[in-house]
C-alpha cells in the first residue's frame, strides 16, 4: 500500500465521489487543465470532462451562488477557493443566502466550499488566513478542518455526501508534508461532527485542529520526555457543529485543558470551546482553561514577523508546563 500525501488524499476523495455519484461536480478558478494553484484537482478535468470540472472566472460570489442554485436542483457541487482568503469575497451570499436556505425556505443546499487556509508559508496577509471564526457564528453552515491525510479524504467524502453546506478548510502547510498509507477504493469516511483523540494522556488535554494538531503532538512528545507530563491531544476535525461529548470527556479525564489554534485569539474558536467547558464541565476543572493562539494582528510577510505572530511548538510546551503546575 503506497503512502499518499494530504493533498493526494483530498484528490482521491474527490475522484472517488465523482466516480460514485454523477451529480458531483467541481467549480473553481484554474482548476481544469491547470489542476488548481496547488494541483489538488490535477488530472480531474481530463478524467471527468469539462462539464464536471468547470473553470470559473475570478468571481467568488458567482462560484458560491451558482453552486447553491445547482445544489437546490439536486446536484452536488464542490467549489474551490484558490486561497481560502478569497472566501470573504463570497461572504454575503454564503452567510445570507446559502446558510439560511434550509431554515427560511426549506431548500436543501448540499454543497462544499473547499480551499487552502493557514500560514507558516511566508504568504503574507492575503494568502495565509484562517477564516473559521468568521463563519462559526453563522447558523446553517458546517465547518471541517482535517489534520491528517486519512481525515482529509474521509472528511471530503463525508462533506460531499452531507445534506447541508460544508466549508472544508485544508491547510496548505500540510499539503505535501503529511503522508500516510491509505487504502484506495475502500470507503474511507470520517463522519462530520466527531472529534478524535490523537494521543491519549492523563495530566493535560490539548484541544486543537488542523496543522496545530502536529505542533501539539510535538509538544506532547517533549513534555512526556522532559517533564514526565502525560498529554492528551484531541483533534476536533469538525469545528461546526462542535463535538461537545468529546470535549467533556477529555476534561473529565485530565481536568486541565489548553486550547491551541492558529487563528488570532479574539473571538476565535477557543473562546467558544472555553464557554462550553464552563457550561458543561466546570466542576471537573483543576485549572483555568487557557489558549495558545496567534497574536491579534494581520499576518505579516517577513519570516521574523510571521514566526513571532503564529503559535510555535515551544509556546505550547511553555503554556502546558504552566497549566500542569497550576
Amino acid at each position: 500500500m503506497a503512502e499518499i500525501t494530504y493533498l493526494e488524499a483530498i484528490r482521491q476523495g474527490l475522484t472517488e465521489e465523482m466516480e460514485r455519484d454523477e451529480r458531483v461536480f467541481l467549480l473553481g478558478e484554474d482548476i481544469g487543465a491547470f489542476g488548481g494553484a496547488f494541483k489538488v484537482t490535477e488530472g480531474l478535468q481530463a478524467r471527468f470532462g469539462e462539464a464536471r470540472v468547470i473553470d470559473a472566472p475570478i468571481s467568488e460570489t458567482a462560484i458560491v451562488g451558482a453552486a447553491a442554485g445547482a445544489a437546490h436542483m439536486g446536484l452536488r457541487p464542490v467549489c474551490e477557493m484558490q486561497f481560502i482568503d478569497f472566501l470573504s469575497c463570497a461572504y454575503s451570499i454564503l452567510t445570507n443566502y446559502v446558510a439560511t436556505a434550509r431554515y427560511r425556505a426549506g431548500l436543501s443546499t448540499p454543497m462544499v466550499v473547499r480551499g487552502p487556509s493557514g500560514g507558516y508559508v511566508r504568504g503574507g496577509p492575503f494568502h495565509s488566513q484562517n477564516p473559521e471564526a468568521a463563519y462559526l457564528h453563522t447558523p446553517g453552515l458546517k465547518i471541517v478542518a482535517p489534520a491528517s491525510a486519512r481525515d482529509a479524504k474521509g472528511l471530503i467524502k463525508a462533506a460531499i455526501r452531507d445534506e447541508d453546506p460544508v466549508l472544508f478548510f485544508e491547510h496548505k502547510y500540510l499539503y505535501r508534508r503529511i503522508k500516510e498509507e491509505l487504502p484506495e477504493g475502500e470507503d474511507v469516511i470520517t463522519p462530520l461532527g466527531h472529534a478524535a483523540v490523537t494521543r491519549e494522556g492523563r495530566d493535560l488535554s490539548i484541544i486543537t485542529y488542523s496543522a496545530m494538531v502536529w505542533k501539539a503532538l510535538e509538544a506532547a512528545e517533549r513534555l512526556e520526555k522532559e517533564d514526565g507530563i502525560s498529554v492528551e491531544v484531541v483533534d476536533l476535525r469538525t469545528l461546526l457543529p462542535l463535538d461537545d461529548a468529546a470535549i467533556v470527556a477529555t476534561v473529565k479525564k485530565t481536568n486541565r485543558v489548553l486550547i491551541v489554534h492558529e487563528d488570532t485569539r479574539t473571538g476565535g474558536l477557543a473562546a467558544e470551546i472555553t464557554a462550553r467547558i464552563n457550561d458543561l464541565a466546570f466542576e471537573w476543572l483543576d485549572a483555568p482553561v487557557r489558549r495558545v493562539c496567534a497574536h491579534d494582528v494581520p499576518l505579516p510577510y517577513a519570516p521574523t514577523l510571521e514566526d513571532f505572530v503564529l503559535p510555535q511548538t515551544e509556546d505550547i510546551v511553555r503554556a502546558a508546563r504552566w497549566m500542569a503546575a497550576y
Binding site: 478558478e29 484554474d30 487543465a33 491547470f34 494553484a37 473553470d55 472566472p57 475570478i58 468571481s59 467568488e60 460570489t61 458567482a62 484558490q82 486561497f83 482568503d85 478569497f86 470573504s88 469575497c89 511566508r122 504568504g123 503574507g124 496577509p125 492575503f126 494568502h127 485569539r265 487557557r290 495558545v292 493562539c293 497574536h295 491579534d296 494582528v297 494581520p298 505579516p300 510577510y301 517577513a302 519570516p303 521574523t304 514577523l305 510571521e306 514566526d307 513571532f308 505572530v309 503559535p311 509556546d315 505550547i316 511553555r318 503554556a319 508546563r321 504552566w322
Partner: protein, 322 residues
C-alpha cells in the same frame, strides 16, 4: 520601461538565490501599459494611481524607487511596509500611488472614493486604477466602476488585457471579445488601443485624463497586450501555446520603442545604451545597499494594528518565564 524590465530581471536573480522571500511577479512584455499610462498623469497636480501586480512600471513613474521594491521583495526591516506586506503592495499617497491588496477589483471602489474626495473638494486631480481581464470578473470591479460612473468622478480605469489570468484565458473570463465593450454597460467612454505601443498608450490615457480633469467623468481604456511569463515565477506556463509566446516576443514594447526613438531621430543607439548602463548601475547599487540588511525585529509585528492602542497585546504564553 527599461528600469522596470531590468529591475524585474535583477529580482529574478535574487529569487533564484532564494533572497526573495515570497513569489515574484513579472510584467515582461507589458511594460508599456504601466509606463505610458502613468506618464499621462500629472504628478505636480497630485494625481494618484493604484497599480495591480503587473504595474511596477507605473509606480516607478510616480517615484517609487528600485531600493524600495528590492527591500519589499526581500522583506527587509527598512522596506516601506517594514516586512508586513509582499512585493509591490505598498503606498505613498504623497508621491501618488495607493497599494493594492490581493483581492482583485477592490481598488476600483477605493479609487472611486479617492476621486470622490477630489470632486468634493473641487481639486483638479485625477485618479487612475489598473485592472486586468481577470479582475473585471469581480463584483468589486462592477460596483466600483458603476459608482464612479454615476458620480461622474475623475477616474481613468485601465483594463490591461494580457490574455491570461493565472492559467485562465480571457475567453473563459468573459464572453465579450473586447473588454472595452463593457464600457457601454456602465455609461462610460471606452477606448481600445495597442498596449505594446507606449506612445499610443500615453496618448489615449492622456486624453482620458484631460477629460476627467475637465469634469467629463470616467473612461475605460482597454490595452491589448500579452503576459509573456507565468502568473508568478514558479509557474512554467504549460498551458500557453509556444507559437503564441513567440509571436508576442516579436512584438516587444521596448524593442518597438527603441526602434521608434532611433528612426524618429529622438535619440541614438549610443544614448539608449548609456541609459541602460545608468539603470543597471542604479539597480546594482540598490541591491548592494539592501541585500544584507536585517529582517524586521520580531516584536515589531505587534505595532500599529490600531492608532489607539498603538500596540497589540503580547500573548500570555510569551510572557511566561523560559
Amino acid at each position: 520601461m527599461r528600469l522596470t524590465r531590468s529591475l524585474e530581471e535583477k529580482l529574478v536573480n535574487l529569487y533564484r538565490q532564494t533572497k526573495v522571500v515570497g513569489g515574484l511577479f513579472r510584467s515582461l512584455g507589458q511594460e508599456a501599459d504601466s509606463v505610458g499610462s502613468a506618464y499621462a498623469l500629472d504628478r505636480a497636480k497630485g494625481d494618484i494611481l493604484s497599480p495591480l501586480i503587473r504595474n511596477l512600471g507605473s509606480m516607478l513613474v510616480q517615484g517609487a524607487t528600485p531600493l524600495e521594491v528590492l527591500r519589499q521583495y526581500m522583506a527587509k526591516a527598512e522596506s516601506p511596509t517594514r516586512g508586513r506586506e509582499l512585493n509591490i503592495h505598498f503606498n505613498d499617497l504623497e508621491r501618488g500611488f495607493l497599494g493594492q491588496i490581493s483581492h482583485l477589483g477592490d481598488m476600483v471602489p477605493v479609487m472611486a472614493g479617492v476621486t470622490l474626495s477630489f470632486k468634493m473638494r473641487k481639486e483638479p486631480r485625477v485618479g487612475l486604477v489598473y485592472v486586468g481581464d481577470g479582475a473585471m470578473s469581480t463584483g468589486a470591479f462592477h460596483e466600483g466602476i458603476n459608482f464612479a460612473a454615476v458620480q461622474r468622478l475623475p477616474l481613468v480605469v485601465i483594463a490591461e488585457n494580457n490574455g491570461y489570468a493565472y492559467s485562465t484565458p480571457t475567453s473563459k473570463q468573459t464572453a465579450v471579445s473586447e473588454l472595452v465593450a463593457k464600457a457601454g454597460g456602465y455609461g462610460v467612454r471606452g477606448v481600445r488601443t495597442d498596449g505594446n505601443d507606449v506612445i499610443a498608450v500615453y496618448e489615449v490615457t492622456r486624453a482620458a485624463v484631460d477629460l476627467a480633469r475637465a469634469g467629463e467623468g470616467v473612461s475605460l481604456i482597454e490595452l491589448v497586450t500579452y503576459r509573456r511569463k507565468g502568473h508568478a515565477e514558479h509557474d512554467n506556463q504549460s498551458y500557453v501555446p509556444k507559437a503564441e509566446l513567440e509571436a508576442w516576443a516579436a512584438n516587444d514594447p521596448l524593442d518597438r520603442y527603441e526602434r521608434r526613438v532611433i528612426e524618429s531621430g529622438w535619440g541614438t543607439a549610443e544614448e539608449l545604451r548609456d541609459i541602460d548602463q545608468r539603470i543597471t548601475a542604479e539597480i546594482d547599487m540598490a541591491v548592494a545597499l539592501c541585500e544584507n540588511e536585517p529582517l524586521p525585529d520580531a516584536a515589531t509585528a505587534l505595532d500599529e494594528v490600531l492608532a489607539d492602542p498603538p500596540r497589540a497585546e503580547l500573548e500570555w504564553y510569551r510572557r511566561l518565564d523560559g
